[in-house]
Symmetry: C2
Subunit: 347 residues, 2 copies
């Protein structure tokens, strides 16, 4: 089969690799029909994080189940499934409480045995604990499928930011970051009933999409200027701040924007935090809670899918560029150049 | 009147200073009968934090109301009162929601006008919003008074750690730190129903007191060894960790001891966090919540006082040394040398 392979910073190639096989009775092999390039893929692509050359990439697959192991009961060949970015056994202490990202099995899509999420096929270990079946009546509806694909990662992650920040009916929420996760965070805040949603970023086109997604205010600024404007709009800070970037500067902006007693829900994979650390003094003096982390999107899949299927949630506009499998390298480049918010791959 | 005055690192003097006067109709002047030296006083005493030479010190006064301004309605001359370490107006947005430490008035005991908490008299601006009256029948019961005094700071702070960490009935809690706050944290966790309380520190005498206060296990170790033992005792980490020190190393220990999905309740005034920062990567990957900050002890005073008065809560054993006002410099030295856990001052 063909799959995207990481060659080194700035280099992704689509190559012929072995097709993954059922190895355990809990496995499923999926023929990938849709997948995506993630903002977090850019860190190794840019050389900001280490990754072994020759490793498989991608972690947001959707497709048709091709084959299942003997113990798999929740999906069958022919089923349309989406696969959260984290593989989860479904049976350990953490999976049982919905914290699928802390699954003790510690499997990932990118291993050679699993084949990566950006290829023709992918193997899912722990199929029953991981995969989410799409009801048959929607299984070939292309519009629905493109709206469901973000549930594998960014939509669940934006939702985790909102839930972690405690966003509820009538609240004011500030969303720090206008990438795909921040935009999904706006959708999530609106879905949870926030009355005022202030989206912060510095890309006009993305902030326009934030407004379409339900942001009542947008702030296009950086650093102290952005903080000041958010604090002005909220008369001194918001009780619910969603950090959707991960950079130390974004975390500190989020803390600075939080009202005393407020909560920062954070979901951006941390980077740059080793040097500066968080502004613990402000956290301390203002009793600001920091809650969140890597999003257990599996826990949110059914709830969000129900809304997509009934037509009240549609994150698909974050896909501003579509490529085929051969176009994956071009997709990485487009996201790296910020030409695309998020790239959809139709395999 | 006479009061303790900070002279510079290592130097506290008891000097003649002007007695504070009623200046606003919301003021009260209190004749201090009991006060204390706080672990946080040691930071300027040790030169670890800046403080102006000549400034008044102390922030945990208890005493008898001497005089009140015309608008004061909740206390009257002759009343026995305790005064939380943070002054609060009782009327602003934050006071009304119980976050008294974020009071917009930003007053402190240590100002020259207020006179400091370690002197013969102290002025309380916003008496109605700050002072807590002790019922008359207990107003001269020395045992009760010594048990109530910690409610001005360390007992409320330990309670805030427990509340912030989400400690409840049947829980396992780890308390990081065996100082006065950590010990009060053990009392608080027990009071909130924790079934297992693991106290961590490195002073045998303090850990013995922790056991008397309800700790079911004690760990006398530092660094990685302490973390490993706590993780062993909890089979991989506790859902509720109370950070009662403030040092960056203690925060990182607390994060390392938290179970995935768990919460660190932190109340130690941060120090050393500028350099290293928190271990945000572990927080992120394990979805660990960081909640807490400077404790709004005023919010907890009535609830904790009720338990002291009915005899089910007694933090007074943390006072292992008693001095009079002239003995305040000796009290600082004893705490600095770790000869005393906490020093009671009978003025």
């Amino acid at each position: 089969m063909r799959a995207a392979v990481y060659q080194g910073p700035g280099e992704i190639a689509v190559e012929e690799v072995p097709k993954p096989d059922i190895e355990s009775p809990e496995d499923a092999v999926i023929r990938v029909t849709h997948t995506a390039v993630c903002g977090s893929d850019l860190w190794f692509y840019r050389g900001d994080s280490d990754r072994e050359a020759g490793s498989r990439v991608g972690h947001e697959p959707m497709g048709i189940v091709e084959e299942v192991g003997d113990d798999v009961t929740s999906v069958a060949p022919g089923d349309r499934v989406i696969a959260p970015f984290a593989i989860s056994c479904g049976e350990c202490e953490f999976c049982r409480q919905g914290l699928y990202t802390s699954c003790v099995e510690d499997e990932s899509w990118g291993s050679e045995a699993n084949g990566g999420g950006q290829g023709e096929y992918v193997k899912c270990p722990f199929a029953d604990g991981t995969l989410v079946r799409v009801p048959d009546r929607y299984a070939d509806d292309e519009d629905v499928l493109e709206s469901l694909l973000p549930l594998t990662d960014v939509m669940g992650t934006g939702h985790h930011a909102a839930v972690s920040a405690g966003v509820g009916e009538g609240d004011t929420a500030v969303v720090v970051g206008d990438g795909a996760v921040g935009l999904c965070g706006v959708l999530a805040a609106q879905r949870l009933g926030a009355e005022r949603i202030i989206a912060m970023g510095h890309h006009e086109d993305r902030l326009e999409l934030a407004a379409e997604f339900g942001a009542t205010d947008t702030i296009s600024a950086r650093g102290d200027d952005a903080i000041e404007r958010a604090r002005d709009l909220t008369h001194g800070g918001a009780n619910h701040v969603m950090e959707c970037v991960g950079a130390a500067s974004a975390m500190d902006s989020a803390i600075a924007i939080a009202r005393p007693g407020g909560t920062v829900g954070y979901v951006g994979v941390p980077y740059g935090v080793e040097d500066g650390g968080l502004d613990v003094f402000t956290m301390f003096s203002d009793n600001i809670t920091i809650r969140g982390g890597v999003a257990p999107v599996r826990a949110y899949a059914e709830e969000l899918m129900a809304d997509v299927l009934q037509g009240t949630l549609d994150p698909s506009p974050i896909f501003t560029k579509t490529v085929d499998l051969d176009g994956v390298p071009e997709g990485y480049a487009a996201m790296d150049d910020r030409e695309a918010i998020k790239v959809l791959v139709k395999a």
